[in-house]
C-alpha cells in the first residue's frame, strides 16, 4: 500500500511539472487574445458625461495600454512572477483580492452541486444498470434527458419562481447570505464551514438555505452525464467474469454490486466528475447571475464584456491552474479506487 501511495505521489508530481509549460502557454495566449479583441477598455471606462480624450489617455496610462504589446507582456509576466495579477477597472480592486474573495463562493457552490449530482447520479446509474430496459431504466433516462435539455438559467428561474416567489420556502435569491445576517469571521471563505467554526448554527442554516437552489439547478444539469456513465460502466462491469464468479460463489448482493462491480465501474465516473467539476466552475455564469452569486465566473463575464483585461487574464490563469489541480486529484483518486493504475 505504501509503495502504491508513493508511486501515486511521484506520478502526481511528474504531472504537475509537465503541466507548467501548458500554464505558461495559457498565460501568453490569453494575454494576446485580449489585446486582439476589438474594443478599447479605456474608452469604455471613460464614460462619465464629460469624459474626453484626456480622460481616455489617462485611463490608458493607468492600465499600461500606452506601451507596445511586447512591452506590456514583459511587464505582465514580471507582475505575475511577483504574484500581482493587476487591478480590475470594474471593481477597482486588485484582481488577486477579487478572485480570493470570489473563488470560495464558486467552489462552495460547485462542490455542493457536484455532491448533490453524485449522490443522485450514482445510485440512479446503478439502479438503471441493474435492470436495463425496465421501467426504472427508462425513468432514469427521461429524468436525465429533462435535466440536460433545460438550460441551467431556466431551471434556476423556475426554481426561484416556485420556491421563492410562489411558496416562499426559499430565502431571497441574492447571494450567499441573507443581507440581514452578520458574517462569521473568515477562515476558509466557505460560509458553511466558517459558520460551523464560529459555532453560529443559525447562520450556518441560513447559508445552507441560500446554497440549496443554485446548487440544485446546477446539479440537475450534470446528473445526466454522470448517471449515464455510471450506467454504462456498471453494465460492463456487471457482465464481466469476476462478477459472474462472485455471484456463483454466493456472495451477498451488496458485496457483489457495491464492492466488486461498482468499485471497478467507478473509474470513468471519477474522470467525468473531474471534467464536470472544472466545467461547472467556469461555466456556471448563468446560475451565478440568476442567483446573484458573487462567484468568479460572473466576475469574468462582466470583465470580458467591458474588455477589462486584468480580471479576464487572472480568471483564465486561475481556471487553468484549477484544471491542473483537478486532474491531479483525479489521478490520486484513480490510485485509491484501482491500485493497478499506479503500476507503471
Amino acid at each position: 500500500m505504501k509503495t502504491g501511495l508513493g508511486a501515486t505521489i511521484v506520478r502526481a508530481g511528474r504531472r504537475l511539472l509537465s503541466s507548467l509549460p501548458a500554464l505558461f502557454g495559457v498565460l501568453v495566449f490569453t494575454f494576446l487574445l485580449m489585446r486582439v479583441l476589438p474594443g478599447d477598455p479605456a474608452v469604455f471606462f471613460a464614460s462619465g458625461p464629460n469624459a474626453g480624450k484626456e480622460e481616455i489617455e489617462q485611463i490608458r496610462r493607468q492600465m499600461g495600454l500606452n506601451k507596445s504589446v511586447p512591452e506590456q507582456l514583459v511587464f505582465y509576466l514580471s507582475d505575475i512572477g511577483h504574484g500581482n495579477l493587476g487591478r480590475s477597472m470594474m471593481t477597482g480592486q486588485p484582481v488577486l483580492k477579487d478572485l480570493r474573495e470570489r473563488l470560495p463562493a464558486s467552489l462552495e457552490l460547485t462542490f455542493t452541486a457536484l455532491l448533490i449530482a453524485l449522490i443522485a447520479a450514482v445510485p440512479l446509474g446503478v439502479v438503471a444498470a441493474l435492470r436495463p430496459g425496465s421501467i426504472v431504466d427508462h425513468g432514469v433516462r427521461l429524468f436525465c434527458a429533462l435535466g440536460v435539455c433545460v438550460p441551467t438559467f431556466v431551471s434556476g428561474l423556475l426554481l426561484i419562481y416556485v420556491f421563492y416567489y410562489l411558496l416562499g420556502l426559499a430565502p431571497d435569491p441574492t447571494g450567499r447570505i441573507d443581507v440581514f445576517t452578520s458574517l462569521p469571521p473568515q477562515h476558509t471563505g466557505f460560509l458553511s464551514i466558517d459558520f460551523l467554526l464560529a459555532g453560529d448554527f443559525e447562520g450556518w442554516w441560513a447559508a445552507c438555505k441560500q446554497l440549496v437552489l443554485p446548487a440544485v439547478s446546477m446539479a440537475l444539469f450534470v446528473i445526466a452525464p454522470l448517471a449515464r456513465i455510471t450506467r454504462a460502466s456498471m453494465l460492463v462491469s456487471l457482465g464481466s467474469d469476476f462478477v459472474r464468479t462472485a455471484r456463483s460463489i454466493g456472495l451477498s448482493w451488496r458485496k457483489v454490486v457495491v464492492t466488486y462491480a461498482l468499485r471497478n465501474a467507478i473509474l470513468p465516473v471519477i474522470t467525468i466528475a473531474g471534467i464536470v467539476f472544472s466545467t461547472m466552475l467556469g461555466a456556471n455564469v448563468l446560475v451565478e447571475k440568476v442567483f446573484s452569486w458573487p462567484g468568479v465566473a460572473s466576475y469574468a463575464l462582466d470583465a470580458l464584456l467591458s474588455s477589462d483585461y486584468a480580471p479576464v487574464q487572472g480568471f483564465v490563469l486561475l481556471m487553468a491552474s484549477l484544471f491542473v489541480l483537478v486532474n491531479l486529484v483525479v489521478d490520486i483518486c484513480y490510485g485509491i479506487a484501482d491500485p493497478r493504475v499506479s503500476i507503471e
Partner: protein, 539 residues
C-alpha cells in the same frame, strides 16, 4: 434520567420561544428602518472622481459626502424631479453672486462636522475644489463646463467663508458645484494618507470616505454590496433632522427578473432598473408604488455619421427621419414608457420654443422619405449597417428589427450589428459607425450645454460627427448670454438648424421607472439618475 432530559428539553423550548418573541418585534423594527435597494449595477469606488467610476458610485457619494450647494426639487407632471434653477445651500449656509456675476461667496454652516467630528472649514473646501480642478480625475472635465479650471479661482476669506472667482459670468458655475464631483473632503484626514506620488490621496479615498455626508460606510464589497449607517449628526436635509433610514443596503442583483421578484415579495424596498415589461406587470398588479419620470436630461437617438457617405448627404438623413416607424419602435422598445421626441406639429414651420431636447415634426411617411432619397441621388436605395450595444439589447433589438423592415420598404438594406459594449464605445469614439442607436445624458440640461457637448467637435459624444461652424458659434454665444429673451432666441435658431440639418434623430426620453414598496415616500428623480437615499422615508 428521562425526566431530567425531558425537563431540559422543555427549558430549551421555552427559552427559544421566549427569545423568538423577544427578538421578533425588534427585528421587524430594524427592518422598517432599513432601506434595501437592489440594482443591476454596482459600486466600484467610494470616490466618484476616480476614472472608471460607475453611476452607482455617483449615487452613493451623494449620501456619503456633502457639497457646497445642492439642487432643489420641483414637480413635473406630478412627479418630483431635481430643479436646475433652484440651488440650495448644503454645506454653505448662504451664498452671494456679485452683480457682475464674476464672484460667488459661500458662507459655511457653523455647525457642520465631518464624520470624524472635526468641523468643516474653508480650508477643506479649498483643498477639495483644488483637487477637483488639478488632480487627474473626472471632476476636471465637468467643472470645465462651468469655467472652473484653476486652483487660483478658490480663495479662503476666513475659516467659514470661501470666494470663487470666474473669468466670465458663467451660468453653469454654480450648478456645477452641486454635481457629483466637487464633494467636500476632510482635507486633514485625506492629507494623512497622501503620498508624494499621490498628493490628492486618490488611492486611499477610493477605499475610504472622509466626508460629512448623511451616511457612513459600514461595509463595502465592490461589485456586491455596500451597507451604510446613518450619520446622526447630519442636518443638511430638512431642518434639524438626520436622514430617515437608519441603515441602507445597496445590493447588486444582476438578473432583472430576480430584482422584480425581490421588490414584489417585499424583500427589497426600491429598484430602478427593471425591464419595461416587468414594470408594466407590477404596475398593473397595483401592490407597489411605481414612479415613472421621463428622464428629462437624457435622450435616445438614432444617429448617423455625417462624415461617412451616404449619410453626409442631408437628404439621406431626412429620408431616414421620415422612414422610421416611431410609434412601433416606441411600443416595442419601451412599452410606451417615456416621452416621445417625434410627431410634433410646427404650424408655421418654426420651433415652438428654444428648449433642447424638443419634439421634431417628423413621423413615418414613406412617400416623403422616397422623395428625399430621390433628391439625394439614391432612388434605388443603398446598403448600410445599423449597430447597437449588447447591454442595450432588450430595447435596441426590437428597434433594430423594425428599422430594418421599414427602411427595406424604401430600398435601404440594413444589416443589424450587435456589438459588445466596449467595442461599441471604441467604434463610436473612432467615428467608424455609420448608423447606430445610442443615448446621452447631461447632468446640467440647458440648451447651450446640449449643443456644445453633443453637436460639437471631434469627440466621442458628438455621435453624428456634425461639424457646423454656425451652430458652434451660436451655442458658444448662448453660453454667456445673460439676457433670457436672447438666450431663447438662440435656442430657437439652434433647434431650427437641428431640424433642417437632421444630424441625428431624437427618438424619445425613456422613463425612469422607480418601483418601490407602497410605504416608501419621497422619491425624487435626480440629475445623476440614481436613488438619493436621503430623499426617502417610510410611512
Amino acid at each position: 434520567m428521562r425526566f431530567v432530559s425531558f425537563r431540559s428539553a422543555t427549558t430549551i423550548l421555552a427559552t427559544t420561544a421566549l427569545l423568538l418573541i423577544a427578538t421578533a418585534p425588534s427585528h421587524a423594527q430594524s427592518r422598517a428602518e432599513t432601506l434595501r435597494y437592489v440594482t443591476g449595477a454596482s459600486v466600484n469606488t467610494l470616490d466618484p472622481n476616480i476614472p472608471g467610476a460607475t453611476r452607482e458610485s455617483f449615487g452613493l457619494s451623494m449620501s456619503t459626502y456633502d457639497r457646497l450647494v445642492s439642487f432643489g426639487r420641483k414637480q413635473l407632471n406630478g412627479k418630483w424631479v431635481f430643479d436646475l434653477d433652484t440651488i440650495n445651500g448644503e454645506l454653505a449656509e448662504s451664498y452671494d453672486v456679485s452683480p457682475d456675476g464674476l464672484k460667488i461667496t459661500f458662507r459655511l454652516r457653523k455647525d457642520a462636522k465631518f464624520q470624524d467630528g472635526s468641523p468643516v472649514t474653508a480650508d477643506d473646501v479649498k483643498w477639495s475644489l483644488d483637487r477637483c480642478v488639478t488632480a487627474p480625475i473626472l471632476g476636471k472635465a465637468q467643472l470645465l463646463t462651468g469655467s472652473l479650471t484653476s486652483a487660483d479661482q478658490f480663495k479662503v476669506i476666513d475659516p467659514l467663508t470661501i470666494e470663487v472667482t470666474l473669468p466670465k459670468p458663467d451660468k453653469l458655475a454654480l450648478p456645477n458645484l452641486a454635481t457629483v464631483y466637487p464633494m467636500i473632503i476632510n482635507s486633514k484626514l485625506a492629507k494623512e494618507h497622501a503620498t508624494a506620488d499621490d498628493p490628492w490621496a486618490m488611492a486611499w479615498l477610493k477605499e475610504h470616505t472622509a466626508g460629512s455626508g448623511a451616511y457612513v460606510i459600514e461595509s463595502f464589497k465592490p461589485g456586491e454590496q455596500v451597507t451604510l449607517k446613518r450619520n446622526e449628526a447630519w442636518n443638511r436635509g430638512s431642518p434639524d433632522r438626520p436622514a430617515f433610514f437608519k441603515r441602507i443596503i445597496v445590493q447588486s442583483v444582476p438578473e432583472p427578473a430576480t430584482r422584480a421578484n425581490l421588490v414584489e415579495r417585499g424583500d427589497a424596498d426600491i429598484v430602478l432598473d427593471l425591464q419595461a415589461s416587468d414594470v408594466q406587470s407590477l404596475e398593473a398588479k397595483g401592490k407597489l408604488k411605481v414612479v415613472s419620470t421621463p428622464q428629462y436630461n437624457a435622450i435616445t437617438y438614432v444617429s448617423m455619421n455625417n462624415q461617412i457617405p451616404p449619410f453626409d448627404n442631408v437628404n439621406v438623413r431626412r429620408a431616414i427621419a421620415f422612414a422610421l416607424p416611431y410609434e412601433d419602435m416606441f411600443k416595442a422598445a419601451l412599452f410606451g414608457r417615456g416621452m416621445p421626441l417625434y410627431g410634433a406639429s410646427w404650424p408655421d414651420g418654426k420651433p415652438l420654443n428654444g428648449i433642447y431636447p424638443f419634439q421634431q415634426p417628423v413621423k413615418l411617411d414613406l412617400d416623403k422619405a422616397k422623395e428625399y432619397l430621390k433628391a439625394a441621388g439614391f432612388p434605388e436605395g443603398f446598403s448600410t449597417t445599423f449597430s447597437f450595444n449588447v447591454g442595450w439589447a432588450s430595447q435596441a433589438e426590437p428597434m433594430a428589427a423594425l428599422i430594418k423592415e421599414s427602411l427595406g420598404k424604401i430600398g435601404i438594406k440594413v444589416d443589424i450589428q450587435k456589438l459588445p459594449d466596449a467595442q461599441m464605445s471604441t467604434l463610436i469614439n473612432e467615428k467608424k459607425l455609420p448608423f447606430f442607436t445610442e443615448g446621452i445624458v447631461a447632468w446640467l440640461p440647458s440648451t447651450d450645454y446640449f449643443y456644445r457637448n453633443f453637436y460639437t467637435g471631434n469627440q466621442r459624444w458628438n455621435y453624428s460627427s456634425i461639424n457646423n461652424p454656425d451652430l458652434v458659434a451660436i451655442a458658444q454665444g448662448a453660453r454667456f448670454e445673460p439676457d433670457k429673451a436672447k438666450y431663447e432666441e438662440a435656442g430657437r435658431k439652434l433647434n431650427a438648424m437641428h431640424f433642417d440639418l437632421m444630424p441625428q434623430i431624437m427618438l424619445w426620453q425613456p422613463n425612469q421607472d422607480a418601483v418601490m414598496a407602497a410605504t416608501v415616500e419621497g422619491y425624487t428623480y435626480e440629475f445623476h439618475r440614481q436613488v438619493d437615499y436621503r430623499n426617502l422615508s417610510r410611512k
